[in-house]
Symmetry: C2
Subunit: 364 residues, 2 copies
C-alpha cells in the first residue's frame, strides 16, 4: 500500500477526530476507496476503537431513487440509530462516476435529502471529518493522470497542519473583529458585506481534510454589489459557468450564467434563505494550485474567495446574531489571482492573492 494512504489514515484518526479507545466509529465510503478504508481500520484497531462500515454506492442509490415514490421517503430508523450510537464519523469521498445520480429526478433527490435531515443533524453533533481518496474517476474529473492526481491529493493533505493553522490565524485575527469586507475582482466583481459581530473560523484540519480556509458569515441583509463567479459550479450533474449574482439589501435581485442558468435559478429558488449569503470563505491551502471540480479542494485553493448562497455556519454565528436559514448551502468561487483585492474596514488585506502578512505583497 502507498505509504501516503497510511499517513492519511493516521491524520484522520489522530489529528482530525482524536479517536480514543472504545469509541464507536462509523466509516462511510465508496468501494473505490477501499485502500483508505483498510488503512483506517488498521489505525482504528491500533487505537482500540470499534468501527462499522457503511457503503456509499451511488449506483444503488440511483436505482433505489428512480424506483421509489417521492412521497414514501422517511428518515431511516436503523441509519439514525447507528448515527446516534456513534462517537466519530468518517465520510470518505472518491466514487467511480461523479455523474452516477445525474438521471435521478430532482424531486426525489430533494425528498431523500429532507428524509436524511435528522441523521445529518445528529452527525453534526459528533466528531466528524469529510475527506477524499484519489480514484481514476476523480482524476478524470480533474483532467489529470491518476498518478498526478494522487500526488495532488496527498500534497494538499500530507502537510504540517500546525504551521498551516498559524498561517491562517493571521487572517482570522483580521476578519474576527472586522465590521465590513469588500471583495473586488476586475470590473465584474465588487461586493461589500458586514461581518460585524460574527466569528471568523480557522479550518485547519477538523471536519475537512484537506483543510485550508478561513471563513465567516455575512449579516444576511448586508450584502450589496455584484459578483462574477468565474470558476464553474457543478450541481445535479450540470456545469454552471460564469454565474453572476447582483445583491441589494442582502438579497439576490438579479442573476445570470453563461451555461445552465436554469440550474442556478433552481438553487436560488430553494427557499427564502437561498437568495442570501450564508458564508464568505478565503482559500489558503497553497498546495491546492488548480481547480479539480471538487469543492472540498476548490474552496481551499490559494488565490480564491468563495461565497455560499444558503444556510449559515453555526460556529460563526454567536447567540443573538441573525442566522441565515436554508435547506441548501452552495459554494461558488471567485479567482482572486489577478487584478483583485480584499478590503477589510477600508484596508486592503490581500492583493492578487497575496496577503499583507506574506512576502511579495504589493501596495497599490
Amino acid at each position: 500500500m502507498d505509504d501516503r494512504v497510511r499517513r492519511h489514515a493516521e491524520t484522520l484518526v489522530d489529528d482530525c477526530t482524536d479517536v480514543r479507545p472504545g469509541d464507536a466509529v462509523l466509516v462511510k465510503a465508496p468501494k473505490e476507496a477501499e485502500d483508505l478504508v483498510v488503512a483506517l481500520y488498521e489505525r482504528l484497531g491500533e487505537v482500540g476503537a470499534h468501527p462499522t462500515l457503511q457503503w456509499g454506492s451511488a449506483r444503488a442509490s440511483r436505482a433505489y431513487d428512480r424506483a421509489m415514490d417521492a412521497d414514501d421517503y422517511e428518515t431511516k430508523p436503523h441509519e439514525l440509530a447507528a448515527m446516534e450510537a456513534s462517537d466519530v464519523v468518517f465520510l470518505i469521498r472518491g466514487g467511480g462516476n461523479a455523474f452516477e445520480t445525474s438521471d435521478v429526478p430532482p424531486e426525489k433527490s430533494q425528498a431523500a435529502s429532507r428524509a436524511y435531515g435528522p441523521i445529518l443533524q445528529e452527525r453534526l453533533g459528533k466528531r466528524w471529518v469529510i475527506t477524499q481518496h484519489p480514484t481514476a474517476a476523480g482524476a478524470q474529473r480533474a483532467e489529470m493522470s491518476t498518478e498526478a492526481y494522487a500526488d495532488f491529493i496527498y500534497d494538499a493533505i500530507d502537510k504540517d497542519w500546525a504551521a498551516q493553522r498559524e498561517f491562517q490565524s493571521q487572517l482570522v485575527d483580521i476578519l474576527d473583529p472586522a465590521e465590513e469586507v469588500r471583495v473586488v475582482s476586475g470590473d465584474t466583481t465588487d461586493v461589500t458585506m458586514s461581518v460585524a459581530g460574527m466569528d471568523a473560523a480557522n479550518d485547519w484540519g477538523t471536519k475537512n481534510m484537506p483543510a485550508g480556509e478561513v471563513f465567516t458569515c455575512p449579516l444576511p441583509d448586508s450584502v450589496e454589489g455584484e459578483v462574477l463567479f468565474d470558476k464553474p459550479l457543478v450541481r445535479q450533474g450540470k456545469e454552471i459557468t460564469n454565474a453572476r449574482l447582483k445583491f441589494e439589501g442582502g438579497e439576490v435581485v438579479d442573476f445570470a450564467a453563461d451555461q445552465h442558468e436554469d440550474a442556478l435559478e433552481a438553487i436560488l429558488n430553494t427557499d427564502a434563505g437561498s437568495r442570501r449569503l450564508g458564508e464568505l470563505g478565503v482559500g489558503m491551502n497553497r498546495d491546492i494550485d488548480r481547480f479539480t471540480y471538487n469543492v472540498l479542494f476548490d474552496e481551499k485553493m490559494g488565490d480564491t474567495v468563495h461565497m455560499a448562497v444558503g444556510g449559515a455556519i453555526a460556529e460563526c454565528v454567536p447567540e443573538g446574531q441573525p442566522f441565515n436559514k436554508s435547506a441548501t448551502h452552495v459554494d461558488m468561487i471567485v479567482d482572486m489571482s489577478e487584478d483583485s483585492y480584499i478590503e477589510v474596514d477600508g484596508e486592503v488585506v490581500q492583493r492578487n492573492g497575496t496577503f499583507t502578512f506574506e512576502d511579495g505583497f504589493e501596495e497599490a
Copy 2:
C-alpha cells in the same frame, strides 16, 4: 445487467423475506456483489422499503483484527442499534478472496465472534436471508470458469421452490417425530444422537438462498460416536481438511484434522456450546451437484449430511427443550454418496445418498 440478477433480487425481496412498504431493511454485501445490491435496491424502491447498506470488506476486517488487542473487542453499539431498528436483513456473500482473513490470529477471530454474539442474536429475531452473488473469486474457489460458475449459482437459486418444498417434506415427515438418528459412512463415521422432541425444519427458501436442506437439532448431551468430515471446511481463510470429532455425552472429547487443526481447535474453544452439536442437516438440492468450497451451497448438496458445532437453531427447539447456546455455528460436511447410510429409529432412510422415497433406493 444479467436478467438473472434482477430475478435473484425479486426472489430475495418478494419470496425469501416478504419485504413490505416501510420496512427498515439492512443490506450487508462485499463490493464485488454491487450488481446484486443495485438490483436489490431497485426492487426495494419499488416496494417502498427503507434500505441501508453495510459494506463487508474482508480486507478492512483483516487489517483491524491484526491491529486490535484481543482483550479490547466489545459489541459495537452502533451496529447493534442498527440491527435492533431493522425489520429485514440481507446478507450477501461473494467477496474477492476467500483467504483474505487467513493471517488473522485465531484468538482475535474468536474475540470478534464473541463480541458479535448479541448482534447475531438480534438478527436471528428478524426476517433475514443469506445469499450468494457469483464472482470471479468464487469461481476460482470452485475451480470453474466465471461463466459456468454463474450458471451453477443461478441453477441452484432460480428454481421451482414449491416443488422442492414438497420433495423435502417427505424427509421432514420422517425426522420430525424421530427419536434417534444414526449416521454411518465407511469405517470412519458412526455417530448417534437423539432428536426426541425437536422439530425438523424444511429449508425451502427463507433464511438461505439457495435453500435445499432438512435440518433439526440434536439434544446437546446425546451425541455419541465419531465423525470424519471428509469435505473441507474453510474458516477464517484456513482450509481444514478431514476434520475428525469424537463425541461422548454430547461433548467433543477428541479432535484432529489433516490440515489446520489449530483452526479447528479455535472453533471448538469459542465457548462451552462450541464443543457440542447445534444442528444435523441433510442436503437435498440436487442442482448443487458439486462441491464449491462454499458452505451455503455445499451443505445443500445432494448426497451429503452436515453437522454444526455451536449454537442450535431456534425454529427446531420447542419451548422447554434444551437449547445449545454458542457464539458460533460451524457447519461441517460428510459425503454420503458411497458406503453410507442414515438410520432413523433403527430404519435406514437413505443409503448412498438415495432416500427410501426416491427411485433407485436399494435395500442393504
